[in-house]
């Protein structure tokens, strides 16, 4: 499995490793205001972050993520922020190993991905 999410310091991190691609962010209803104009968010090819998420919204988001086979993990926000910056799976892998989390093989994007 390479689909994970994490809730740290009020931020929701949704991320993938290996061959897995990030889910379509349109799956979240507009009412949750996750990736809409009225929230602070970031997206990279391998991680999406919503900042300062409300408790109730977080609960709803978790249900949707679990329905999409995303697994909750507990990682430090530093590791996740670094993953946003450089997409370096090596470092994330180390952190996940330390946290005893099952991980997918190391590759960010498929080489034959359309450009």
């Amino acid at each position: 499995m390479g689909k994970h999410y994490s809730l740290k310091e009020g931020n929701l991190y949704i991320f993938t490793t290996g061959h897995d691609l990030l889910l379509d962010l349109g799956v979240f209803p507009k009412e949750l205001n996750l990736f809409e104009s009225e929230s602070d968010w970031r997206i990279s090819p391998w991680i999406a972050v919503v900042e300062n998420i409300l408790q109730k919204t977080a609960e709803m988001a978790q249900i949707i993520l679990q329905l999409n086979e995303y697994e909750k993990v507990s990682l430090s926000s530093k590791a996740l922020e670094n993953y946003f910056l450089d997409g370096n799976e090596q470092v994330l892998l180390e952190t996940m190993k330390e946290a005893s989390i099952e991980i997918a093989p190391l590759i960010n994007l498929p080489d034959d991905a359309p450009s």
Binding site: L21, G26, S37, S39, W41, R42, P45, L85, L109, A113
Partner: protein, 538 residues
């Protein structure tokens, strides 16, 4: 009865005398004011004419015959020299500030993806409130190479500067250079390599280079209406003529909001501020920190032009207010700084009241009209002096614009834009004057008014303008000989020479008028007439 009549007559004479005296004083004061402001404006005009002459000279030379380290060669640095192999290039982060860019978001993202470079990422700093967000959420961008990061803010704190500062937080750790494009630009494929190349050329400079500024080629919708044509001519004068001259003489150059590459280390150190003219604010701070900006017209990215007078006015009002506010904020720091060269300080002094020119023009013109009406002038004032000043000042920007579009090879197509710009500048002037005064006296800057981008394209950009510069310079002589043989135009009637002669004439005329007025009290024609008669009479 007689006494009464005398008394009335005396009163009448006294009244007339006072009126005459008042008229004399007002006329004289207005004359002096008009003259001082006219001469102040003339200083700007001289720079424009001087810039036109310099640019014509620069682009007429066969720079390949000059030493490699010659400033002309550094500005027109040949692109075919040293290229870093793909994969070994320094890491570049392209920053795209977005605010409701529905019409152009996809276009610029696609253009950036096409850039011929390996080690780079794109960071979209988004403040949108409309459906632009749907474009950004599109899954397709996540399958692309290079990496695209989207950073959205729910507020617009700090406007564009705030968004760019937010983007700085999410730079790839290996980033060595940061490039900024506004959303309406379409960067060409080789642009990053060109930027890096110019940094390499200036690597050994005594003063470290913080940024390389390219040419914002406002071109994509130039044929949409007379306004777009006018602005195209204006920008051509500024980027092909004025900035080139500033580069030649090592003056202060501005980082202009888009199409520039910054050293990431310097940008991390200086950061973006929340100014409504964040680019000018950053420029001043980088010079205060001991860095400099390099400009080249060879790096060109085509862009859209605002299409309505209202949009232009709002854009220019923001520029005028923010610019003047920043000048007020940093003026004495710049003047006292030991890190700016004399040429840089002089350019700052020249550029500082740039938008206040509108006020100067309005007050000067009114004073001139009053002086003409009162018919009382200083002894050296001649009507010719007034008219020569008016004409010189009036034609300075059009001549610079014509020179710019001539150097780009678009004179025949775009010359009428220059006349449109004259009209447009009169529309803008009172608004610009008001905004610059606001910037001068307000305690806090106003708010950012965005310029809507429509996404309309009337002219596709097919490569480097500047008459296909490199090839043009290489083949200049052959083409010229061929054209001359074919059309038989005497050299003095060639566009280049006409522009150069008019520039010289328009600078010299008011100066000679002033000299002749002060020394003889007559105008130049009278002086010449006396001289000729004197010669004839031995």
């Amino acid at each position: 009865m007689k006494l009464n009549f005398n008394y009335l007559y005396f009163q009448y004479v006294l009244k007339e005398g006072v009126r005459d005296l008042q008229q004399y004083q007002i006329g004289l004061a207005a004359s002096y004011l008009a003259l001082i402001l006219g001469l102040f404006y003339f200083i700007y005009a001289v720079k424009y004419y001087f810039s036109s002459l310099t640019a014509i000279r620069l682009f007429s030379l066969d720079t390949f015959k000059l030493p490699k380290e010659h400033i002309f060669n550094r500005i027109l640095a040949p692109r075919e020299s040293v290229q870093t192999p793909l994969g070994d290039e320094p890491w570049v982060s392209i920053h795209l500030p977005f605010f409701n860019e529905l019409n152009v978001a996809r276009r610029i993202l696609e253009a950036c993806i096409e850039i011929n470079y390996t080690n780079f990422e794109i960071v979209v700093a988004d403040d949108s409130r409309d459906t632009t967000i749907e474009i950004l959420r599109d899954r397709g961008w996540r399958h692309c190479k290079p990496i695209i990061k989207f950073v959205h803010r729910k507020d617009r704190a700090g406007y564009k500067g705030g968004a760019l500062q937010q983007a700085m937080k999410f730079l790839h750790p290996l980033t060595e250079y940061v490039v900024v494009f506004d959303a309406d630009f379409v960067p060409p494929k080789n642009i990053l390599r060109q930027f890096i190349h110019h940094f390499m050329i200036h690597e050994q400079d005594v003063k470290p280079v913080a940024a390389v500024q390219g040419y914002q080629l406002h071109y994509l919708n130039r044929n949409e209406n007379w306004i777009t044509k006018s602005v195209r001519a204006e920008f051509s004068g500024s980027y092909m003529v004025e900035r080139v001259t500033e580069e030649v003489y090592g003056m202060m150059k501005m980082v202009s909001g888009s199409v520039f590459m910054f050293k990431a280390k310097v940008l991390r150190e200086l950061g973006w501020t929340q100014s409504i003219t964040e680019d000018w604010d950053l420029t001043i701070r980088l010079y205060l920190a001991g860095y400099k900006v390099v400009y080249t017209p060879l790096i060109q990215a085509p862009a859209e032009i605002p299409t309505t007078v209202r949009r232009i006015i709002r854009q220019r009002m923001r520029w005028a207010e923010g610019h003047t506010f920043a000048v007020r904020k940093y003026f004495f720091s710049v003047i006292r700084s030991g890190k700016l060269t004399l040429a840089e300080k002089l350019e700052f002094l020249y550029f500082a009241p740039y938008y206040l020119q509108s006020c100067i023009f309005i007050i000067g013109s009114i004073s001139w009209i009053i002086a003409q009406h009162c018919k009382h002038h200083p002894s050296f004032w001649t009507p010719m002096l007034g008219w020569s000043l008016v004409l010189s000042n009036f034609l300075a920007i059009p001549i610079m614009g014509l020179t710019g579009i001539f150097l780009e090879g678009d004179l025949v197509e775009d010359y009428n834009g220059v006349f449109g710009f004259i009209v447009l500048s009169y529309f803008i002037m009172p608004y610009q004057a008001y905004a610059s005064l606001k910037g001068l006296f307000e305690s806090e800057e106003g708010y950012w008014v965005r310029t809507l981008k429509t996404g309309n394209v009337t002219d596709h950009f097919l490569g480097l303008k500047i008459r296909g510069l490199i090839d043009w310079i290489k083949n200049l002589r052959q083409i010229r000989e061929y054209d001359q043989n074919k059309i038989q135009i005497p050299s003095m009637f060639q566009a280049k020479n006409i522009l150069a002669f008019s520039s010289l004439f328009l600078v010299l005329w008011p100066v000679l008028e002033l000299i002749s007025g002060i020394s003889t009290g007559g105008n130049l024609v009278y002086l010449l007439d006396c001289f000729i008669k004197g010669v004839r009479n031995g």
